[in-house]
Each structure stands twice: as C-alpha cells, then as structure tokens.
C-alpha cells in the first residue's frame, strides 16, 4: 500500500507560537524537507483534539503530527502537555485496534531553531514509513 515518495500527506498541526515560529525559521534558513509535510496553523497544540486527528486520518492524511512549544514554554501554560495525554491514549487505542500507533505523534519545537521543526518532520515521516512497512496504516 506504500505510496510514492513525496506523495504522502503528513498533516502537521503547529501552534502559532513555537511551532509556527520554528517552521518559519526553517523556511527563512531554507532548510529543506519533504513536500509530504502540510502545515495547519492552530493557536496552540492544545487546540488539536482526537476529532481533528481522526478527521485528518479518515480523509486521506497518512499521518498526523501535532507540534507545540517546548515543555514549560507553552504560551498557554500546558496546552502541549494536555495534547500529549490525549495522543498517548489514542496511540494505545490504535494498537488495541490492531493498527500502528506511529501515524500520530506529538512533538515540540523551538521558534528560534528551524532544525527542531525539520527534525520533527523527518521523524514523523520515518515513523510513517515504519507504520507502512508493518502494514499498520489506515490506508
């Protein structure tokens, strides 16, 4: 079922603070990454819930990465942590249903360092490849 390289859709929900900041810094520094990555801007990673993640996966996204600020640096106190708790439960749910849990991930990034965002993107794609290899994706 594996798709042609670069034809995947990895939806990256990135917070408007460090997440977007890191993505923009990566852009300004011309750090390249796969065209599979499509960024959706949200105010805080804590705004993304299971509903959005499932909306994405059910409508053609191959994987979802939620990217927020670093620990203790969330601009809205603990939005990133709350999101992590939910995604962790979803990961367990996916495993219980017999699917890979590698298509959904939560990362952090630093606005001043574009590499952190690119690192997150690369990790998300690597994990998606693992999920595909194991035949654990929804596709």
């Amino acid at each position: 079922m594996s798709k042609e390289k670069g034809k995947r859709d990895v939806l990256a929900f990135m917070c408007a603070e460090c997440g977007q900041g890191a993505a923009v810094t990566a852009g300004v520094a011309r750090l390249g990454y796969s065209t599979s990555i499509k960024i959706i801007r949200v105010k805080c990673s804590g705004l993304v819930g299971p509903i959005q993640i499932m909306d994405a996966l059910k409508n053609g996204a191959d994987s979802v990465a939620v990217i927020g600020c670093c620990f203790q640096a969330c601009h809205f106190f603990n939005g990133n942590f709350l999101s992590m708790h939910r995604i962790k439960l979803m990961k367990k749910l996916f495993k219980e249903m017999g699917y890979s849990d590698q298509m959904i991930n939560h990362y952090t990034a630093r606005a001043a360092e574009g590499e952190t965002a690119v690192g997150d993107f690369e990790d998300a794609i690597e994990r998606l490849l693992v999920a595909e290899k194991e035949g654990g994706t929804f596709a």
Binding site: D9, Q20, K38, R41, V42, L47, G49, I51, Q52, A56
Partner: protein, 674 residues
C-alpha cells in the same frame, strides 16, 4: 465587566454569527510570486488554474509582489468590483504579511478577520528544492485549497477597548533599568523600580572607566541614579525581588518581596555604625578586592544611602544599635510583601560575569593561582577603597607585576562551555583596561591574547589603534593552558600565535581573564513567573530579533539591556529607551484593544462538567448557577477548551471543529468542492 453581561454578549455574537451564515461567501484568492522566492519553485499560474473553479471563488489572481501597493490595490479592487467578502492571500507567513492584507480589507470595509493567509513561501517554496517544482506546486495547490475551505466560514470578530493601569514596573536597577525608569517617569507614568541589591546602579558603577572615552562611570551615571531616586513618579524598591506575576498586558498584579535592611530610612549615612563594626568580610561588590563590615554600604556613593546589615555575618554585638545617632538600626525588621498593579513591565536584570573556574586549564580560583583574576576584579582593584589602594598589585604578594597577560574570550565563543556566542564587549573593555595599566604604570608589559579583535563602531577601532600606539602587544591565539612553575611559582601562558604559527610560552606574573557575560542567576524562576521565553543561551528571548528586539514573548513585558543578550552600555541605554517607549504606549493611551477571538458556548449542549474551567490557563471560564460563563477580557483565545469539551459545546470563533475539518479536507483532498 460582570460575567452575566458577558453571557449576554455571547448570545449576541451567536445571533450575529447566524445572520452572517446567510451571506454567501465570495472568496478572492491571490497568489504571490514573491519575485523569485515563490515562483521559482511553485508554478503560480498552475495553482491559480487549479483553484479558480472551487466553490465560492469569485476572483483568482496572481501577482509579482502581493504586498506591494499594486498587489494590495488588486485585493481592494476585488472587494469593490467583484463583491469579494473573504480574502485568501497565498504568500508568506501570517506573521509577516497577514496584518498587511487584513488592514487592506479593513480599509475596504471588511472585518480584518475575514482574511486568511496561506503560507506557501516559508511553508512550501523555501523548504522545497527548485528541482521538485511539480511536487512543490501540488503542495501549494493543496495548501491554497485548504485555505479557501477555511476562509469560507470565517466570521467577523469585533475589537474591544480595555482600560489599562497607568503604572509600570521596572525589574533591575542597572543602567538599562535606570534609563527605562527615567524615561517612563518623565512621561508622567508612575514607576516601581525593583532592585535585588541594596542599592541601584548595577555593574556600571563597578567599572573604573568606560570605553571609548575613558570617562568615569560614576560621574556619568550619578545624574540618573540621583534623578531616579528623587523623581516624584518613581517608587524605589531596593533589596527586593519579584515573587509572583499575574494578569496580562494593561493589567498586571505583581507581588514584591523586600528583604529587611535592619536600618530604617532615617539613616543619615554618617557611617558611625560601619566604622565601629568589629566584623570584616571580603566585599562581594568589589569581587573580593576590598573588605566590608557586617553593616555596610555597597560603595560610598550608593543610592539609597541607607546602610544595610548583613544578618548572616553579624555577631549581634549591638555596637551599631547603640552608636547610631538617629536610632536607625533595628534588628527586629522583617521582610515584607507588597502587591502592586501595573500596566507594563520592563525587565532589565542585566548579566553575570562568567565564572572561569569551569575552564580547568586556566586554574582560575584555585589555590596558588591568586594572580589570575577577571576583568571585573581588575576594575574593582582600581577602586579607591580597594585592598591595593587602587594600585595595580599582584593579589598573592602585593608586588607590582612586571607583565600582565590578558586572555580574551573566556567563556565566550567556546562550545565546550556551551556558549557559542561572542560577548561582543570584551575586546573593548580588554583594550580599555590594558590602556589603564599603561597609563597607571607604563613600565608594566601588557600582552593581549585574542582570537579576533572585534571593535566595530565609531571610535572603537580608533580605540584599538590607541592601544597599539601605547605599546600593548597583541598575540592572535586562544591560550590552551596556564602553567605554574612549581619551583619559582611563575605563571606562564601557553598559546600558539596563529599568525606566525609559533607555539609560545609567555612568562608572566599576573593574568586577567576577559570573562563572558552570561544570564544572571535566578533568570529561570523569574522567566517562569513572568511566563516569558528564554533562548537556549539562557537570556530572555526577544519577540523578533530585528523588528522587535525589546519586546518579550509576552504582551506587556519588555526587555532592556543585557538580559536580552550581551550588550555594552551604549546599546543597553538605547534599548532601555525603546523598551520604555513601548511599555508607555498602552499606558499613555489609557486602553488596549482586544480582539474578541473567544469561544462561543452552546449552553443547550453543555453538560457543565467543568473540564474547560480546569483546562483554561487564564481562569476565563467559570460555572456560576449551573451555567458556564466566560470572562472575555481574560480569555486569550487559545482554544484549549475546545477539544476537551465532551459535547463540542464550546467552540473557538473561526477555529470551530467544522472549520478545521474543512481545512483538513481541503489539504488532504487537494481540490474539493464541498
């Protein structure tokens, strides 16, 4: 504003949004070439071709520079001529030109929130190789269709005015904090100046001379210290630290703890107490280069001039209590907590000098290596009350050194200690102190070991030339080690002259380390109290390094001086002025404008469980009389309440579940006609 009126407002907004839904969306899409920046990687024409047939798209155009006057006119004309009521501009990031287009549509009578920005530059063309043009184009098409889908349901968001508290807090009484305080106070704003030490002035008052004019810093700063202390708008709070900060731009509530001085303000500064105090300890202020008593002042001109008792070393002999002619000494004083309300905060807590003992081969601070000192110690050696009598003498034996070697970049430009940055001012103060040595005792041989001599700016390079003329020797190379002859006790600096590629061993009897400027102790806890971000180097992070270097990551909190990274006095003063102006603006105007990006509550589906109340980081939600209520002023529109609601009864305006769904489908499906 009461909570019940908020609830009514929400009901109003609800109705308004319903009426808006009836209006057919007419979307104008504009794709920017950004010169070559986007167009070289993304096929802009093809993007337009693909998206122009999408539902509700009534205008689809591309242009070389959408942010130019002509580009903006294009957006405006589409509103005037084609009745466009939602705009999507696919260009750079929201932060860069989102506001440009939002303003443009506002000028044409549309609410600025009806604009949506698709980022196809930082998010697509700049991060994709030009060789991958087809893929990049496809990605851009997906991003634009996502944006069109998202734009379809955008609603107007009103902007409200919120009154501000006309008072400011400045944290840190060094040169930056003083300048900011003075500038704010002169604008008629009441200022609270909080200083950790017992007197104001900061590092500048520790210096012997300032470059490049070799002026006396005490003379330069005293008008400011005296001025601030006597200003009618300034409340000086020395020996104090910030304990808690709550609130947001315009209305902060800050708790400040003041340590007891054990001397009341009626102290006349006569000095009787200190003169007769039997306890003597090395002075921290003078980096151990002089002694102080248990009851003391940091330095003779210290402001406030009230003495302070060091409880830790005091033997409580009561001599001072008995001697004080005005009875100012009082051992029973307690620490006290003050709560103040301010509208803006300026953080100017400065820097610490790097502690070179971390660099093992330099042996700083080790027994037998007393003749290795830092530049700040050297400055204090020259102060009038120093142990050396302001002469240049070796700390170990009090002899006049024949040769002094200065080592630059100690703790700067050094990956091993984790500081990659250049402190930027060490070359200048190194040169200044080298010249001071030559002026005081021309017989002393002065050698500076440097990596690069960095002296940019007016009079700075000239200053370096002057050093050379004064016979100071320069060796280009970072010393690898300082050795001590076990028999003679003589120090030698091992360095390779990288210009002549000669290994050298420089015998010397005194060494001065140009230690870096590092974030001050306690910056971490202060950062978390203020809820502002730090950079990986530890300093507070500015909002934008070029465009907004004096604003912190949080609204209403500004940065002045070395807290935002190493700076010299000139830069610190300039930054302090900028921070003061920014901090003053909302206070002088008397109000701030708040965009009502708030969640809308569907009370009929709300199960009043309270999870949103718990999740809200700003305490904006509360359950009163079995009804969920929102304090819209406290709300920051983060949307944390949205995914936690088990019944989807709370939805952030313009980021509703269905709107996010539309964007997701727009991107994953590429082109979708919903």
């Amino acid at each position: 504003m009461t909570n019940s009126s908020n609830a009514n407002n929400i009901a109003e907004i609800d109705q308004k949004s319903k009426s808006k839904e009836k209006e057919e969306p007419r979307i104008g899409v504009f794709v920017c070439h950004c010169g070559h920046n986007i167009a070289d990687t993304v096929d802009v024409e093809k993007t337009i071709e693909e998206i122009k047939g999408l539902d509700n798209v009534v205008e689809a155009q591309h242009y070389m520079f959408m942010c130019s006057k002509q580009g903006i006119e294009m957006v405006k004309n589409s509103i005037k001529e084609k009745g466009v009521n939602r705009t999507v501009v696919a260009s750079c990031s929201v932060t860069q030109h989102g506001p440009t287009f939002a303003k443009a549509i506002e000028e044409e009578g549309l609410n600025k929130h009806l604009h949506f920005q698709a980022n196809i530059r930082e998010g697509c063309s700049w991060v994709t190789s030009k060789k991958k043009r087809p893929e990049a184009t496809k990605k851009a098409i997906k991003l634009v269709s996502g944006a069109i889908n998202r734009a379809r349901k955008l609603e107007e968001v009103e902007t409200k005015q919120i009154a501000t508290t006309k008072a400011a807090l400045v944290i840190g009484g060094g040169i930056a904090g003083l300048r900011a305080t003075m500038d704010l106070a002169n604008l008629g704003i009441p200022v609270y100046l909080v200083e950790r030490e017992s007197s104001i002035g900061g590092h500048m008052t520790q210096l012997y001379k300032t470059f490049p004019t070799n002026e006396c810093p005490q003379c330069s700063i005293s008008p400011l210290t005296n001025g601030v202390a006597s200003h009618k708008n300034v409340t000086l709070m020395t020996y104090s630290t910030v304990k808690a900060v709550e609130g947001s731009l315009g209305n902060f509530e800050v708790k400040i703890q003041t340590k007891p001085r054990y001397v009341h303000d009626n102290c006349t500064s006569c000095g009787e107490c200190s003169a007769n105090c039997p306890v003597e300890v090395p002075s921290e202020w003078d980096s151990g280069m002089s002694m102080r008593k248990a009851i003391y002042k940091l330095y003779p001109q210290a402001i406030p001039s009230t003495y302070v008792r060091d409880k830790k070393v005091c033997i409580e002999c009561q001599t001072c209590v008995n001697l004080c002619p005005v009875g100012a000494v009082d051992f029973s004083m307690k620490k006290k907590m003050t709560t103040i309300k301010v509208g803006s905060i300026v953080v100017a807590t400065g820097y610490d000098e790097y502690d070179p003992s971390e660099i093992e081969p330099y042996h700083y601070g080790q027994e037998g290596y007393e003749d290795i000192i830092t530049q700040l110690q050297f400055e204090r050696m020259l102060n009038p009350v120093s142990l050396t009598g302001s002469n240049i003498l070796r700390p170990s034996d009090g002899r006049v050194p024949k040769r002094v070697v200065m080592i630059q970049c100690v703790g700067s430009r050094n990956e091993q200690v984790g500081n990659e940055y250049c402190t930027g001012v060490c070359c200048m103060f190194g040169n200044k102190n080298a010249q001071m040595i030559k002026e005081i005792n021309p017989k002393i041989d002065v050698i500076m070991c440097y990596i690069d001599m960095r002296t940019p700016g007016i009079y700075y390079e000239e200053f370096y030339k002057k050093s050379q003329e004064k016979g100071i020797k320069f060796i280009r190379g970072r010393p690898s080690e300082i050795e001590k002859d076990p028999i003679t006790g003589e120090l030698s600096v091992i360095v390779e002259d990288t210009l002549s590629l000669t290994p050298m061993e420089i015998k010397t009897d005194m060494i001065i380390l140009s230690a870096a400027m590092v974030p001050p102790k306690g910056i971490g806890p202060l950062g978390s109290k203020l809820q502002i971000l730090r950079m990986k180097e530890g300093f507070f992070k500015e909002f934008h390094i070029k465009m907004n270097p004096t604003k912190s990551s949080k609204d209403g909190i500004f940065l002045a001086g070395a807290i935002q990274g190493p700076k010299d006095i000139t830069q610190s003063v300039a930054q302090a002025g900028s921070a003061a102006a920014l901090a003053a603006a909302p206070l002088v105007r008397g109000y701030i404008e708040k965009e009502m990006i708030i969640p809308l509550i569907d009370h009929s589906n709300c199960s009043i469980c309270g999870i949103c109340v718990t999740a809200c980081p700003f305490g904006a939600l509360a359950i009163n009389d079995e009804k969920l209520e929102l304090n819209e002023v406290a709300c920051k529109g983060c949307g944390l309440c949205q995914p936690v609601c088990p019944t989807a009864a709370i939805q952030l305006i313009n980021t509703r579940e269905d709107e996010l769904y539309d964007e997701i489908v727009g991107i994953t499906g590429g082109i979708t006609n919903v």
